[in-house]
């Protein structure tokens, strides 16, 4: 899954540290490489603001994968068939794997996984708001695959060509797996839609609840994304929030028709002149409320991460203690 395209408020702009070595020659070389479409690697010089922007974005993305394990994990023990249970387990395991190699990508920028975990658990770091919505029926699992992973793919495909090499390479693998998840989600919904009336009601209920939050995943309107320009200049962002959102709506309407569900928007209609679907205004108050901690599951999700981390402290300590004892024994025996 994915972190929404979320600009940080102006007050929290990355600041250039006084000790950052940024002379004009390095900067010019960096700019030239970006302009030439070349990738920047971990060992290369980079502006401090570029590094901080990447750390923030990649770690938010990693946190989103980890927190994103929870809403769908909520249904593993209740999956209605063994096949669906296996698919869901594998999917949630994939999300954990995405988190792992995204943390590794962030570590190439000089931060540790422990620091990033601490930022998540203290509430300082953001993760995608989509995971602060509850999963209320089994169809939510399918709809998350179809819409949420679908939106994530729209966001992530351009990242496969982002300027920072380790992030771009991680995204190639993430995108392949997300595409698979999306197809599995859609397949689960097709099975339910060809089932009983009650099953179809479950699907429609889930679509009604997830449609608008999925559109919000692309982030604020371009006009309200003042930092997007810099990210585009750096080759971190390739396509604007509104363009990606439109692309997603255009692709999804036909899928909804095939599925036989109604997207909950009376204003959704094809605009011949634009060559795109028009859709109603997004409730940005809801978006910012959830971003700012007032979604239904913000507290629960973070509490569960904190509990897992705290409950696991003695296990991590044991692993370290054993490794130290083992090393001491080997040294004594040598």
């Amino acid at each position: 899954m994915y972190t929404q395209a979320l600009d940080i408020p102006p007050g929290e702009q990355p600041k250039r540290t006084p000790d950052a070595v940024e002379n004009a020659a390095y900067q010019a070389e960096f700019d030239a490489r970006i302009d030439a479409g070349a990738t920047i690697e971990a060992k290369d010089w980079m502006p401090e603001a570029y590094r901080k922007t990447l750390v923030r974005q990649i770690s938010q993305h990693a946190h989103s994968e980890i927190v994103g394990m929870l809403p769908e994990g909520n249904w593993i023990s209740r999956a209605p068939s063994l096949k669906r249970k296996a698919i869901l387990l594998a999917k949630v395991q994939d999300e954990g794997g995405h988190g792992l190699y995204l943390y590794a990508a962030a570590e190439t920028l000089g931060v540790s996984r422990d620091e990033l975990t601490e930022a998540l658990l203290s509430g300082k770091a953001k993760y995608s708001s989509i995971f602060n919505y509850p999963t209320l029926n089994w169809a939510d699992v399918g709809v998350i695959g179809w819409l949420v992973d679908g939106a994530a793919i729209m966001n992530q495909i351009p990242l496969c060509k982002c300027s920072y090499g380790p992030y771009a390479r991680a995204m190639v693998r993430v995108c392949k797996e997300e595409s698979f998840h999306q197809r599995q989600g859609y397949d689960a919904l097709l099975a339910m839609m060809s089932g009983t009336d009650e099953q179809r009601e479950l699907v429609q209920d889930a679509v009604n609840r997830w449609w608008w939050p999925s559109l919000m995943m692309f982030g604020p309107h371009d006009a309200d994304s003042p930092n997007s320009g810099q990210s585009m200049r750096w080759g971190i962002k390739r396509i604007s929030n509104d363009d990606l959102r439109q692309k997603f709506v255009d692709a999804t309407v036909k899928q909804a028709e095939v599925l036989g569900v109604t997207l909950p928007d009376d204003e959704l209609k094809w605009n011949e002149a634009r060559g795109h679907y028009d859709f109603a205004a997004i409730d940005w108050d809801e978006f910012w409320n959830v971003v700012n901690g007032h979604g239904q599951c913000n507290v629960d999700r973070l509490a569960m991460r904190v509990k897992a981390w705290d409950d696991g402290a003695w296990v991590r300590e044991a692993a370290v203690a054993h490794a130290e004892k083992q090393a001491a024994r080997e040294k004594a025996a040598a």
């Binding site: 980890i66 394990m69 929870l70 994990g73 593993i76 023990s77 209740r78 999956a79 209605p80 068939s81 063994l82 096949k83 669906r84 249970k85 296996a86 387990l89 594998a90 949630v92 395991q93 954990g96 794997g97 988190g99 792992l100 943390y103 089994w138 689960a188 099975a191 339910m192 089932g195 009983t196 009650e198 099953q199 569960m304 509990k307 897992a308 981390w309 409950d311 696991g312 402290a313 003695w314 296990v315 991590r316 300590e317 044991a318 692993a319 370290v320 203690a321 054993h322 004892k325 083992q326």
Partner: protein, 258 residues
């Protein structure tokens, strides 16, 4: 008995395969409860991976049991639409994941058992079962090694981890009595070449398990007369709750396909 992928006329054959399938199903269900809550991310992946292996084994084994039974029951009918007393897993499988130590001790005790079991079942006269065993054996090697490594880390680690690992071993060890209790089903299955009588695996199991527990500085509890009977459908109080969760959807939407 000519064991093939067709209906079996030997009730012990079906009972034996069902027991294997239920053991994988219930152990996998318990492991899957860890999702997103492990002490470290790597362990989240490992626990999900093991859960996935067991669900996969359960699918193959329950499908095969359905074929042997010949009454049209598929993997899901058997997994979701039986009553508590119709499950044949050893009681140990359904014991709760009280903490990480319980999970790893249980995983190791069962994993070491599975390793021996699948190894023997590769030579089963039931060719379908032998094929399942060949696949499952590879997975069991990883399960036994991974959980065994954790048993050592926890036992040898800190005072707290040692205390928790010992408490888990004290709690779960008596349930291993059931694994090796002789019974007519095993005798009949062994006589037909379907698989080993589980009681015959006791000695090799101890040879595999005891050195690891010793390495972990854990004290092996003395054997007691404690006996459980999950293999015969008489379970602990825990299974009913596990099934209530697991069976919820198929029972709430009768006739639905997913």
């Amino acid at each position: 008995m000519g064991a093939t992928a067709m209906t079996s006329t030997n009730p012990a054959h079906l009972e034996y395969v069902l027991r294997l399938g239920d053991a994988a199903l219930i152990h996998g269900q318990r492991l899957s409860e860890w999702c997103g809550q492990a002490p470290v991310l790597e362990e989240d992946l490992a626990l999900a991976n093991m859960a996935l292996d067991f669900v996969g084994q359960a699918r193959m084994l329950l499908s095969h049991a359905g074929t042997l039974e010949g009454k049209g029951r598929d993997e899901d009918t058997l997994a979701f639409l039986r009553h508590e007393g119709q499950y044949r897993n050893p009681t140990l499988c359904e014991m709760p994941n009280t903490d990480f130590a319980h999970t790893m001790i249980k995983g190791f005790l069962l994993g070491s058992f599975n390793l021996l079991m699948w190894s023997r079942l590769c030579g089963s006269s039931d060719k379908a079962l032998a094929a399942i065993a060949a696949k499952s054996l590879k997975e069991a090697r990883y399960h036994a090694e991974h959980t065994g490594d954790w048993v050592i880390r926890l036992g040898d680690g800190t005072e707290e981890s040692h205390r928790r690992a010992q408490a888990a071993l004290d709690m779960l060890w008596p349930y291993t009595n059931e694994l090796f209790a002789a019974n007519p089903t095993d005798d009949a299955a062994a006589a037909a070449g379907v698989g080993p009588a589980w009681s015959d695996l006791a000695e090799d199991w101890e040879k595999a398990v005891l050195p690891v527990l010793k390495h972990a500085t854990l004290t092996v509890p003395a054997r007691t007369p404690f006996q459980t009977y999950g293999k015969f459908g008489r379970h602990s109080e825990h299974l009913g709750h596990l099934l209530a969760v697991m069976q919820h959807l198929p029972r709430s939407f009768p006739g639905a396909t997913w």
